[in-house]
């Protein structure tokens, strides 16, 4: 047992986060969300500088962990770019996981993607894109897709979901950091806000949810290679925890920032907007829980005391669930 991130992966994550903070910061998200610009080519160049395409996320647990650290670092600055999608690219092109092939199918960064893949692994080409250009979905589009033409393994679907979770977790951790900074600096009633226990406890709750999600992310990526038959049910479990953390951390951070948290001169609104597509696509919280339940019923869920659903075993890694 060694629940620590490998030292080289940790160092890679730290240096990547530092580089993205220094060279992109929240500015790329700011320009995308408020200036009507499309800075994704710049984001792509930044990722190219750290050899993002040299990471074989499907290759090993260590590579998957490195990919997740990169996504987490990108999430911390809500980098406007489909970094997880790029890391998951395979022979069938760059894809997004979707709940269903029936319209309306909404996909983030649809113009940079080739295909969509359902949870059960059916791949269909994107044929038409209608940009939403929404306040919470700057680069999302409603897409029309062709007939399913290939099958993607549950492991590939799961990795895609896991890397989306990593991006969200990175953004949430930053939102909690901002709350700590703001409540430490801001004084009301003659005291720092952080001296009020009611406010400190809210930060504790947000931090707790994020810590749990981060540990679960790493465990899920390790299991992706150890127990590939459970990849999808594990990814859905991670998504449930991440979405719970998202609800908690964004609500707390906004509440503690007060009105300042709405203002575009602050980083927080960019985090909030920038995380929405990863949080809600392809399945929001309740729909993710439903999907988790369906998979738990179908293949069980590993506990310390056997599988939660009796009489079923994890499927083979390559069979659709």
């Amino acid at each position: 047992m060694d629940p620590r991130l490998p030292a080289d992966v940790e160092e890679f994550g730290r240096s990547t986060a530092e580089m993205l903070r220094r060279r992109a910061g929240i500015e790329l998200a700011r320009r995308a969300q408020t200036g009507g610009e499309d800075p994704r080519a710049e984001a792509s160049d930044l990722l190219g500088a750290i050899d993002v395409d040299g990471i074989d996320a499907q290759g090993s647990a260590e590579e998957a962990l490195a990919a997740a650290e990169l996504c987490r670092a990108a999430g911390a600055v809500v980098l406007p770019y489909p970094v997880g999608q790029r890391l998951c690219e395979r022979g069938h092109g760059r894809f997004a996981v979707v709940a269903d092939l029936a319209a309306p199918v909404v996909v983030d960064h649809a113009d940079l993607l080739d295909a969509v893949v359902t949870l059960d692994g059916r791949l269909a080409r994107i044929e038409r894109r209608v940009p939403l250009d929404g306040k919470l979905s700057r680069f999302a589009a409603e897409v029309t897709v062709g007939e399913p033409e290939a099958t993607v393994t549950p492991g590939d679907v799961a990795l895609w979901l896991d890397l989306q979770a990593a991006y969200v977790i990175g953004g949430l951790e930053r939102a909690v950091e901002l709350a700590v900074e703001h409540t430490s600096d801001r004084r009301q009633f003659g005291r720092a806000l952080s001296s009020f226990q009611a406010l400190r406890f809210q930060v504790v709750e947000a931090s707790l949810a994020c810590r749990g999600a981060l540990q679960l992310l790493r465990f899920t990526l390790w299991r992706l290679h150890e127990q590939p038959g459970d990849a999808l049910v594990d990814a859905l479990a991670l998504r449930v925890q991440t979405q719970e953390a998202a609800r908690r951390a964004l609500a707390v951070s906004h509440q503690l920032h007060g009105a300042m948290g709405f203002a575009n001169e602050h980083d927080l609104p960019f985090l909030t907007r920038g995380l929405q597509t990863a949080m809600r696509l392809p399945l929001d919280y309740e729909a993710t829980t439903d999907a988790l339940l369906r998979h738990v019923d179908a293949i069980g869920f590993e506990t310390l005391y056997g599988r939660f659903t009796p009489g079923v075993a994890a499927p083979t890694p390559t069979s659709p669930v």
């Binding site: 629940p3 952080s194 504790v204 931090s207 749990g212 439903d290 310390l304 939660f308």
Partner: protein, 393 residues
Amino acid sequence: MDFSFGDRAESLRARLRELIAAHLPPDFLSPFTDDPEDFALTERFCRILGEEQLLALAWPPEHGGAGGDVWEQTVVREEMWAHYEPRGPQYMGLNWVGPALMRFGSPAQQERYLPRIAQGEIVWCQGFSEPEAGSDLAALKTRARPVEGGDGWLVNGQKIWTSYAQMAEVCVLLARTSDEGRRQQGLTLFLLPMDRPGIEVRGIDSLFGPHHVNEVFLTDVPVGPDDVLGEVGHGWRIVREMLAYERVGIARYARCDRLLARHREALADRWEELPQALRARYARALVHGRVARLLAYQVVDAQSRDVVDDADTAAARLATTRLDQEVAEVLMEGAGASALTPTGHPGAPLHGAVEDHYRYSFASTIASGTSEVMSILMARAIFGGDDGPATAG
């Protein structure tokens, strides 16, 4: 990064499960029952573990242990807690009284107590909480006054919520020996034999059933320098360390995992009849159980490297104690009206384990440091500084 326990620890887990299956009845829930056989069962089970060197597995060999690593120790904690702690009161001696004795005890104390703890022969109780000193432990009023012309003290005061007091041979007692300096500075720990004159134990009927919690009244109880654990006036520091051991010593997530899996199996086809919203809560509880387990492993790893982070420890404990309550609610609803069937009746779900877990779950976020104390510790680690009240955590 590797979350597998490895062959040695997994073999240990299998052996423990064999012993449990062979020696414990399926309806064993606690030594705290009206049936004295339940307590006797824990004593017999401890001897069996002792014979296989599984009782003090993690202790160093020089103190009667088997020198097992922290992950083997974790397996023992998980299996024992998941199966209703069949070591009975021994877990306290093994998990933190023993380690505290190794760290702070005199050679004579180590010689007197450690081999007997390793063999499961001695029952301890913990005399910390008082009617006016719960989370604010430093407010305790039990006082040890020096005996004039002698080198000992006479202890007067009252302890409360003391588990195992009726069966304990020795109490780890925290008492005030001085009023000088900060409140935390004048406290001393005594290893008080419970057969000393002036000790009266009264049981408190409670939600948990008979004999679990007690009051201990202390009237002119004599203690001497040989009874002091560590140094006079240094009790607070030792208590903080002991509570840190205790907080990760209880693998609550393991019992929750086992209860959820067992209940799903017991429900069989009735599972499909449960409301979708309730089944979703089972699924979420499984996720939260996995998270609580991972946060606990993070702390175990940090402890093994002596780099414990207060925020990590508090986070692990908050997650696992809340899980206890979440699972309790889910199981009670999943069992429906049958959850009210008393233990021992044929219709009681999981031999009464559902209602048992529900009753005990209320204590999870209170015993060994309340959730609020955990939040104070975690906030202190996040924000830095020393805001908030001094706690024993």
